[in-house]
Structure formats: C-alpha cells, structure tokens
Amino acid sequence: MIRLAPALLLLAACDGFPRDAEGTLDRIKAGKQFTVAFEPTGQAADDTARALVERLARETDATPRIVDRSGEPLLLEIEDGKVDLALIPLDEKSPWAHRVTIGPELSGGNEPAHLVPVTRNGENAWADLVHRAAETP
C-alpha cells in the first residue's frame, strides 16, 4: 500500500489521465472533427447546447459535424462510437443510463435547458472534458 502511494501521485500528475478505452479524444484531436447530434427543445436550450459545442471545439481544436439523428438510433450510434456527443433530454433513470454516459444537465442562463450531454461508455477522457465544459458557466 505504501509503495503504491508514490505511483498514484505520479499518475495524478499525468496529463493524459484518465484515458479513453477506445481513444475518442485522441481521435477527435488528431482528426480535428467530432460528431454531435442535437435534439431541439427550445431557443434557450439550443443556445446553451451551441455554446457547449463551441467550447468543446475550442478545447479540442476540432470542428463539430452536426448529424441529424434522434431517439434510440442515436443512442445506439453513441454506444457504437459512431456519434461522439448527443445533447438530448435523457433521464438518469432511463434504461439507457447503463449503456451510455449521461452528463450534468445543461442550464440556459437561469433556467434548466432539459438537455444532458451523452457520450459513449468507457471514454473517460472525452466524458471528463464534456462534463467539465457542461458545468462551466
């Protein structure tokens, strides 16, 4: 245990920790593109979602490619890694909650946007970036 502690501290200092199981963030940075699907729910929500995507684009130095998907097919594509990010209304009690990673609810100004960022399971570096960006005012 005592021998483990310095190793953990070294890990904490690592820049690329945690990493993605399937390398989503590395792919986005290398390919300079990520795919996003929106579900329009209102002007305020759309503005919040757009602000988040722009923030992520700046952070990754990549261009967002908006794809027209919704409902279960969209979640299946998230699960398969064909879509990198979905901004949709999805409850944490949904049966999909174990199959995809649900982020914090976006807030549009003073009101909740009823949208959550949804990413692929196991992509912890990408989810980390998305969650932090979603919670940044």
Binding site: F17, A21, G122, N124, H131
Partner: protein, 317 residues
C-alpha cells in the same frame, strides 16, 4: 457440557472485542463506499463484499453468546454446537463472496462493459471520480488487513473456525480493495477489462478458501472427525487423543467428533472404566487439554435376547 471453559475466556473476550471492532470499522467502510459509489464493476463488487463480510463477525458474536449458556431440559447437551452452525454460515458467506466475484468478473468480460468514471464536483473542484473511489478503496483495505492479522492468532488459540473464517474474509476484503484500486487505475489507462480481470484473479483465492471452509464445516456437522483449522486434514490434537485412547483401551474402536471448538471422543467395544477424567489425563500431543470435552464408552454388543415369537424375529431380520 456447559458454557465456555475458563481457560479460553481471555482469548474469547479478545475475539469478541475484535469482532465488535470489525463491525464498527466495516460499517464505516460501507458508508464511505456508498458515498464514493461509482461505475466500476470491481468497486461495486468490493462494496457488496464489504456488506457480506459483516456476516461472519455477527454470527461469531451470536454464537459465543449462545455458547456461554448453560444446558437446559430443552438443550441438554448445551450450546457448544452453535459454533459449528455459525461456522457453516460463515463458510457459506465466504464461498458466496468468491462465487459472486467470479460471476461478476466473467459477466463484465463477456458483456464487454466499458466502465464510465465521469468527474465529480468536490469542494467546488472537478476531480475524476476514479480518485475518489481509489481513496475509498484504500480506506476499505487498511482495517481488514490489520484486523485479519490480529484475529488469526486468537482463532488458532481458541480453535475457533468461525473466527478463522472471518480472518479469511478480512483477507478477501483487503485483497478485493487492492484489486479494485488496480482495476480503477486500469480504467484510467483506458483498459476497460482491467477491472474485471483484477476481480477475477482475487475471486479464485476467495472461492478456494470458502469452499475449503465449507467442506470442513459440513464434515463437522455430520459428525466427521475433528478437522484442522485451515485444512480438511484431521486435527493433530485429535490424532493425539485417538492414539492415547487406543493405547489405553486396546482392541476398542475410537470415534471422535467436534462440537464447536471441543472434541468429543467415544470408545466403542470396551467396558467403561470405573473413573476417567479427561481433564486429568496427560495426553501427549494435546497441548490444549480443554479441547477434550468428553470421553464416553460403549460396551461390547450383548447377544440379542431370545424371544418366544421366533417367526416375528426372523421377519425383523
């Protein structure tokens, strides 16, 4: 048979104290683990295992309470055998933990579940939830490591298989905690399978200990010869008693069983001596004289009495 023997009271009191400490520490660990609960399979498994690990400590405390009771008309042999029942419960629990660990690991690998550990906000800062889980798992590994080591010598002194199984459970606890830490670090490196593989390796050791304990507990309950604390072999002190009785009563058949932590011997096929005191007997190889609770005798079979209803007798044969 009545109550616990005075010779073992100090060790018994120490065992009881250790089990109360175990309940206190393990409850605090469960609370910390629930607080840090996350998406890692090994973490969830470690939490369930910590909850289950309370069972041997609880059954030990219940069994020792019963063991001290005096015999009564409803339980004329006393309550020593409650320890045997408690041992079975502890052994089943340990086996269940090992089987559960193995099942969860295989399921995770087959389903190829990729654990997600998103960041959490703590004291206004975003940190990776893996760090919170590693902190909780580190805490979960330290008390069982210390308590398990403290319990082992007491279990040996008391010939207490429940306490010994509980020490094994504590070993399973800290090993699962370390496996969980390794698994979460693996996830941090993008190795989704690290979690399940780490838990899987540990599960074999836990399951082995559990099944071995279960075998010994079953043997004890079906009146098998007294077994060693940590193996299915016949206990050395039981062998010593058998040797001594064999020399004292040549031509007899010696049967022994274990009633809780005590040995009960039966000498068959000899006429009982006028007086024999197992406590006064200096039996070579029996270091703890208190272990030998009773020596009973069964005289040689008498010829069956002749009956006047011969046809009925034959029918019975």
């Amino acid at each position: 048979m009545s109550g616990a023997k005075p010779e073992i009271e100090p060790d018994l009191a120490r065992g009881i104290r250790l089990e109360w400490w175990t309940l206190a520490w393990m409850s605090s660990i469960v609370a910390v683990m629930v607080f840090a609960s996350g998406g890692s399979q090994a973490f969830r498994t470690a939490l369930i295992e910590d909850v289950l690990s309370l069972i041997p400590a609880i059954v030990f405390l219940v069994a020792t309470r019963f063991e001290r009771r005096q015999p009564n008309p409803r339980f004329p042999y006393g309550f020593h055998r409650v320890q045997s029942l408690a041992f079975l419960i502890a052994a089943v629990t340990l086996s269940a933990v090992g089987a559960f660990l193995l099942y969860e690991s295989i399921l995770t690998l087959v389903m190829q579940e990729h654990p997600s550990l998103p960041p959490v906000k703590l004291f206004g800062e975003h940190i990776w939830s893996g760090w919170v889980m590693i902190a909780a798992l580190t805490y979960s590994a330290i008390p069982p490591f210390i308590l398990g080591r403290l319990k082992h010598p007491v279990a040996t002194e008391l010939h207490d298989k429940v306490l010994h199984t509980d020490a094994l459970m504590q070993k399973a606890d800290w090993m699962t905690g370390l496996a969980g830490i390794a698994g979460i670090i693996g996830i941090g490196f993008g190795l989704w399978w690290a979690d399940a593989v780490a838990a899987g390796f540990i599960s074999f050791s836990v399951l082995y200990d559990g099944l071995r304990s279960l075998r010994i507990a079953t043997a004890e309950l079906i009146d098998g010869a007294p077994r060693a604390l940590d193996s299915g072999e016949i206990a050395d002190d039981a062998k010593a008693v058998r040797r001594w009785l064999g020399k004292q009563f040549p031509g007899s058949r010696i049967c022994m069983r274990e009633s809780g932590r005590y040995i009960c011997a039966e000498v068959k096929g000899v006429t009982p001596p006028k007086a024999i005191d197992p406590k006064a007997a200096d039996i070579p190889g029996l270091d703890d004289q208190w272990r030998l609770e009773t020596i009973s005798f069964k005289p040689p079979d008498q010829p069956a009495p002749r009956t006047s209803t011969g046809a009925g007798r034959r029918g019975a044969e």
